[in-house]
Symmetry: C2
Subunit: 414 residues, 2 copies
């Protein structure tokens, strides 16, 4: 470790950004250039932030405790994607994809020469295969809704999937444009609202790429993913924003896990019909407000005078958090551009925000598939009524406006 | 927004750290003082970083996009903890708890005066109640392993729980001491390995408290949590480190969700016998290496010459990540000190690292409960054999050393 600590890095002209320029939206990895956000050789860096989001803090502990050599370079033997994705024509327009690196899964091959020459370039996307098994899918087989085929779905409920993990890589001018704001305003707020994270956001306007320390996304594919990008390929999809309390523990205050399981059913059916199913799992706990805020809001909803009811559902979040939602679906469509998807035939979501974001990005949604009524837990009626009243898509008759005042949620002590 | 941007904040003597001193490990909130990490009034801050970990980036988007007033103050009406926790004697020793704020759930009442005077103090812990329902628990009832009692466990599998979300709050001198390193080395690595996050780690040695942008933890309590802290109260516990692929989707390459479900069974039984069950869910995906690294390792394991086998299980992770594991169980016992727990009667974990960390912190583990053999998925045998060979606790005969060379894992194409 050298004795000198660089507190902020001002552009020095002959530095990495000049040696390894990034041309965002270029049609080939060679033209685009590698994104270098590793910290083992700071002089090569051409991006702000580093890899694996918030796990960089753990890497710091590992180095500080002497468990990890700070100069360690990954050995990429046998790690290449289990399935190829792209390139798709959408990659060649800087405005289509602004929050992930379309070449992030192929760096070990596309930049093999630079890596061999000592530049520490790391993947931001990894693609593998797995078998998954959710009790709900076995139940769907037993109920006759799903039919095992021995290839995609086994009789014991096992499902063959391809899956991809994607870390966020933000092209700051593109993110700013997506929100209709100036890049300088975006940079300033990223700096100030994080308590001063990364002064380079302010000092290094020449660095256009930022790897924010936020959770990424996981994709689960059902069926033959090499068919993606062909106009005739039918696609079913659920974009699911993380809700640990329901997704893992089955909390009954919302519809998250039931809708996820239903979305997977829809995806399996599509794959069995020769199309492709896709679940996008975004790490945006509690509408990207985090779980502490979420639990504060639960208490406020269940204790308020008049009980937990649809008409005050959004207001309770706003009182605590200042906003109803911070998920910002504006960036969500990027993953569809990455996969070459221009049309979603079956869309397992009722969210008008998600739907609007897709339409805005020119992605057609053919059929919207709401959650079946019988899958909505009793305590989740408050949320469902409130969302449908606020413009969520539903096939059933929405609750009458006077019904929104009725407490349908359980009290805190019940 | 003022025109001036402060890039690094050097101590100015008369600043917040002086106006709101923090005495870590004090026996009352008044003596300890509030931790002020909100950004609405920078002059009050006495900590590095800000609230809700990585979601600060989303808050920045919300402010930049004009959706959130940057001066918003939370309305804490009706948000107070649904159950009281503490104070416990353990809180009054600065060495017991170094990675969470023991007063984090009671700030709205303990610091009501300061909040009324305009200081933006926010909770780092929230406590609510819920009903959860996991298909595995209904199956355990049907199999006769669990018995509904109408209070804790209902006949339909619903379980009444208290739950708490905890954001990390690190007392840097204490964290450094826990790892046996100098505080200055810890600070320097936190700065360098994150790509230069928070220069204050270097420039503000007077600021001792850091809210790192990492995932926190969620606690699920079964039974009467007011009994915690009494020596006679029997406690069952599973400390579970997040594994999204198994916890949510039921991937069969590991034992995560099956062991979690089994741990919850053990917790329910303990609550039904008058004790308290506790699940600690830590956001440390892929051994805190993140999911991109995890999937790269899966590919390397399944493609290596000789197949996926126990003898190379840890080596494949080390090739890619440079370490086998970055979860650092050293900080894990803090939550037990927070809850006043000195003895765990039934401990649903086989990890020698978790067990060692508890013993190091003076917490007695009476009985270790391994995962029942029949819950281990076939593809997870590689992991289980490797861990047991490396010192994990097991009741069954570990695999013979020559068996560790046998490929028991599925190939990538299967």
């Amino acid at each position: 470790m050298s004795g000198h600590i660089m507190l902020t890095s001002h552009s020095r002209g002959s530095g990495a950004a000049a040696a390894h320029p990034i041309q965002w939206g270029a049609a080939t990895p060679a033209q685009r250039g590698p994104i270098i956000a590793s910290v083992s050789a700071p002089q090569h860096r051409n991006a702000i932030g580093t890899h694996s989001g918030s796990y960089a803090i753990y890497r710091a502990l590992a180095v500080a405790a002497g468990n990890l050599d700070r100069g360690h370079r990954p050995d990429f033997t046998d790690t290449a994607p289990a399935e190829a994705i792209g390139p798709h024509p959408q990659w060649a327009d800087a405005r289509n994809i602004v929050s992930l690196d379309p070449y992030g899964h192929m760096v070990a091959s596309a930049f093999a020469e630079q890596i061999a020459a000592g530049v520490d370039i790391r993947p931001t996307i990894a693609i593998t295969k797995a078998h998954i098994n959710m009790p709900e899918l076995k139940a769907a087989i037993d109920a006759g809704r799903l039919r095992p085929d021995g290839q995609i779905l086994m009789a014991n409920g096992d499902v063959r999937v391809t899956k991809a993990a994607i870390d966020p890589v933000w092209y700051l001018p593109g993110v700013a444009e997506r929100f209709g704001i100036k890049e300088s305003l975006l940079r300033r707020n990223l700096f100030e609202q994080t308590g001063g994270m990364f002064p380079e956001l302010i000092t290094r306007s020449d660095l256009k790429v930022f790897l924010p320390p936020i959770g990424g996304m996981t994709l689960y594919f059902f069926g033959d993913i090499t068919q993606l990008g062909k106009p005739e390929t039918r696609v079913a999809c659920r974009v699911h924003d993380e809700c640990n309390g329901s997704d893992v523990f089955g909390s009954d205050i919302c519809t998250c896990r039931p809708y996820l399981a239903h979305g997977i059913e829809v995806c399996i059916e599509m794959a069995q019909e020769g199309g492709v199913g896709l679940v996008v799992y975004n790490r945006k706990e509690g509408r990207a407000l985090g779980e502490v805020t979420k639990f504060l809001v639960y208490n406020a909803r269940k204790r308020q005078v008049g009980g937990d009811r649809a008409e005050t559902y959004f207001a309770r979040t706003e009182c605590v958090a200042g906003v109803q939602d911070m998920r910002f679906q504006e960036l969500m469509p990027d993953v569809f551009h990455w996969l070459g998807i221009r049309r979603i035939d079956r869309w397992a979501s009722m969210s008008n925000m998600k739907h609007g974001a897709l339409v805005e990005q020119g992605i057609e949604v053919v059929e919207r598939v709401p959650i079946p009524d019988e899958l909505i837990p009793a305590d989740a009626r408050v949320e469902m009524d409130a969302k449908v009243a606020a413009g969520y898509f539903a096939t059933y008759t929405p609750a009458a406006s006077d019904e929104l005042a009725l407490p349908k949620g359980r009290g805190l002590a019940e």
